[in-house]
């Protein structure tokens, strides 16, 4: 991952979107300095939060931030909970670490927070073990753990990916609702543009470890600039649009060891010409608060004659 740079304002929801392997989760983990070797944060990087640089913070201080000022919701509610403790215990643990509450107080706080997440019968539920809960309920537990300290920023790493669709909608509504209540900022990491459209105000599109486009959500959906963003949008299924197979962007994200020279998307890009081969594109200004890492910003006429379709219907050939 390189040169990823973005900001999240107070009370704002920013989305990071991209295919698997784009570096979304690594970005999220880096913010809390949780990446495991061989991954590391380059010296000279800055992660600024409430006036402090998280990169240079001591271990004790960053621990005070984690779960307290910035917390995280993980994508797998099945495996993100410890199987040998009750869920109440696990939610309370966060309050015990950060607020220094007694066992009793922390437990009460945990039950309250579980109630806020819409968990029915929270007093009884708190005494249950993770394996006794459904996926949606477990995700509520993770949300309670993330929110019990009323953090300034919540990083939600694909919070709904592992859930079925009806539960997904409930969980998203819950997040949006709690965000309003607590005034928390959310960094929503997802590969689902539907989630982005529903919850965020600003979107960052990542591809092969870098930011390729950033724009307010309405602007992005109205005028996607980067061919990758455009491809993602065309890959979304549309209601009322009868189609047997979904569109896909041809090819896959290259491995980090194998990033092409020049533009990293050019091998999958229908507009690609000599310039992207030679020159790694910078983030061009392409509109109101809208930037895009594509040379089309300066040679827009090239968009008119793609040499291949932007998306294809897999297995059938060109659409």
């Amino acid at each position: 991952m390189d040169g990823v740079s973005f900001d999240v304002g107070a009370g704002e929801t920013v989305g990071i979107v991209g295919e698997s392997g784009c570096g979304k989760s690594v970005t999220a983990l880096s913010i809390l300095r949780l990446i495991q070797p061989p991954g590391r944060i380059e010296p000279g990087s800055r992660i600024e939060f409430e006036g402090k640089d998280l990169v240079t913070l001591g271990d004790e201080e960053i621990r005070h931030i984690r779960g307290n000022r910035i917390s995280m919701i993980f994508q797998e509610p099945m495996s993100a909970l410890n199987p040998v403790f009750t869920i109440g215990d696990q939610v309370a643990e966060v309050a015990r670490i950060h607020a220094g509450l007694s066992r009793r107080q922390a437990w009460d706080r945990a039950v309250e927070t579980l109630a806020l997440t819409g968990m029915p019968a929270p007093e009884d539920r708190a005494k249950q073990y993770p394996h006794q809960l459904s996926g949606g309920m477990r995700q509520r537990v993770l949300i309670a753990m993330a929110l019990i300290m009323k953090p300034a920023l919540v990083i939600a790493d694909e919070p709904t990916t592992a859930l079925d669709v009806t539960i997904q909608a409930q969980i998203l509504d819950l997040l949006v609702h709690l965000q309003k209540e607590f005034g928390t900022s959310i960094l929503m990491i997802t590969h689902d543009l539907g989630v982005i459209a529903e919850t965020t105000s600003r979107v960052i599109v990542m591809y092969a470890g870098e930011v390729v486009e950033q724009a307010p959500v309405d602007e992005l959906f109205a005028r996607p600039h980067h061919p990758y963003t455009e491809g993602l949008m065309h890959s979304m299924p549309h209601i009322g649009h009868d189609q047997d197979r979904l569109n896909v962007i041809p090819g896959t994200v290259p491995a980090p060891t194998n990033w092409p020279h020049g533009c990293r998307f050019r091998e999958r890009c229908p507009y690609s010409w000599e310039r992207p081969e030679r020159e790694h594109p910078p983030l061009y200004d392409v509109g109101a608060a809208h930037v895009s890492r594509c040379h089309l910003a300066v040679e827009p006429e090239r968009r008119n004659n793609p040499h291949a379709p932007l998306v294809v219907v897999e297995g059938v050939g060109a659409a």
């Binding site: 983990l29 809390l32 949780l34 495991q36 621990r63 005070h64 931030i65 984690r66 779960g67 307290n68 917390s71 995280m72 993980f74 797998e76 495996s79 993100a80 909970l81 410890n82 199987p83 040998v84 403790f85 009750t86 643990e93 966060v94 670490i97 950060h98 819409g118 968990m119 029915p120 019968a121 009884d124 539920r125 005494k127 249950q128 073990y129 394996h131 006794q132 809960l133 459904s134 996926g135 949606g136 309920m137 993770l142 753990m145 993330a146 539960i167 409930q170």
Partner: protein, 296 residues
């Protein structure tokens, strides 16, 4: 379904609190073989604990070394007497006490060392882990019995405490391997990353998120470990370098009759029977525990 709230909430609330430990215990108790094992072990442990109350004679008393020696089983001496005229039944009862105690204490020593060593190695990772594991390979390459023989021969008339210590010191290698493997796997479990993301310290993660998840393999290793130590102790005592006289352990009762094993058959049969029974039951229980916890 009308009236149904979010994902079947109402149905499972009624279920009782089920810790993974409790589920394991229930699974074990469902098996008749492990119920029998638990019962038999319970009786033997009780016999050991109550030894002073139920033993008919003083296990060390030699009432008449001429008239009462080498007596076959009779009503007065159900397990017969030994060449020193001591009552074998009383000695077997006291032997249960000592053998079990040595087994349990030595296993506690092994568990402590094995868990600590394995957890540190696995959690530290990298060079520390590599060094600790090579050192462990070196320990493992020496047979345990040989190690013990060496120590005990060089150190005659060892106290029981020292014997327990050495049995424990030589018994933790295998367990620490298992623990290290589990810790390595758990270190990257998502709930550990989640705990870190929520601000848990290294110590808290190790103590609260890693070790509690190791309880089941440790319980299994402990059960099998006790059985192993009992056999080892008996072997050492039989060789005359384990439990010192006049104390009774199953091993040294057999040893007392070993030079006339064909005629003094009761001296090998009864303590041997108790030992085999205990070890067998421990192994059955250990296997059942393994099945219960490692299935999941």
């Amino acid at each position: 379904m009308p009236g149904q709230t979010q994902d079947s909430a109402a149905t499972s609330v009624a279920r009782p609190r089920e810790s993974p430990l409790a589920i394991g215990v229930r699974r074990i108790l469902r098996k008749p073989s492990s119920r029998v094992a638990l019962f038999v072990l319970g009786v033997i442990v009780l016999v050991g604990i109550l030894a002073p109350l139920i033993a008919p004679y003083d296990p060390a008393a030699q009432p008449d070394i001429v008239a009462l020696k080498d007596l076959p089983p009779s009503l007065a001496h159900p397990f017969g007497t030994d060449p020193y005229s001591r009552d074998v039944l009383s000695r077997v009862i006291y032997g249960a006490r000592l053998s079990l105690m040595i087994g349990v204490l030595a296993t506690i020593v092994s568990l402590t060392l094995g868990v600590a060593y394995g957890a540190i190695s696995g959690y530290a990772g990298g060079v520390v882990d590599a060094l600790m594991m090579r050192l462990l390979d070196a320990f493992l390459s020496i047979p345990r019995l040989l190690l013990l023989l060496g120590v005990l021969v060089a150190w005659p008339r060892l106290s029981i405490g020292a014997l327990v210590l050495f049995l424990g010191l030589t018994g933790w290698f295998g367990l620490s391997r298992i623990v290290r493997g589990q810790v390595l796997a758990l270190k990257h479990a998502e709930f550990v990353t989640a705990a870190r993301a929520l601000g848990a310290s290294r110590r808290r993660i190790l103590g609260r998120h890693v070790l509690p998840n190791l309880v089941s393999p440790i319980v299994v290793a402990a059960t099998l470990g006790v059985a192993h130590v009992i056999v080892l102790e008996a072997g050492l005592s039989y060789l005359g370098i384990g439990v010192p006289q006049p104390l009774a352990s199953w091993g040294n009762i057999i040893q007392d009759g070993s030079d006339q094993i064909a005629t003094l058959w009761w001296m090998a049969l009864f303590p041997g029977l108790f030992m085999v029974l205990t070890v067998m039951m421990l192994n059955i229980l250990g296997e059942a525990l393994r099945d219960a916890y490692e299935r999941r």
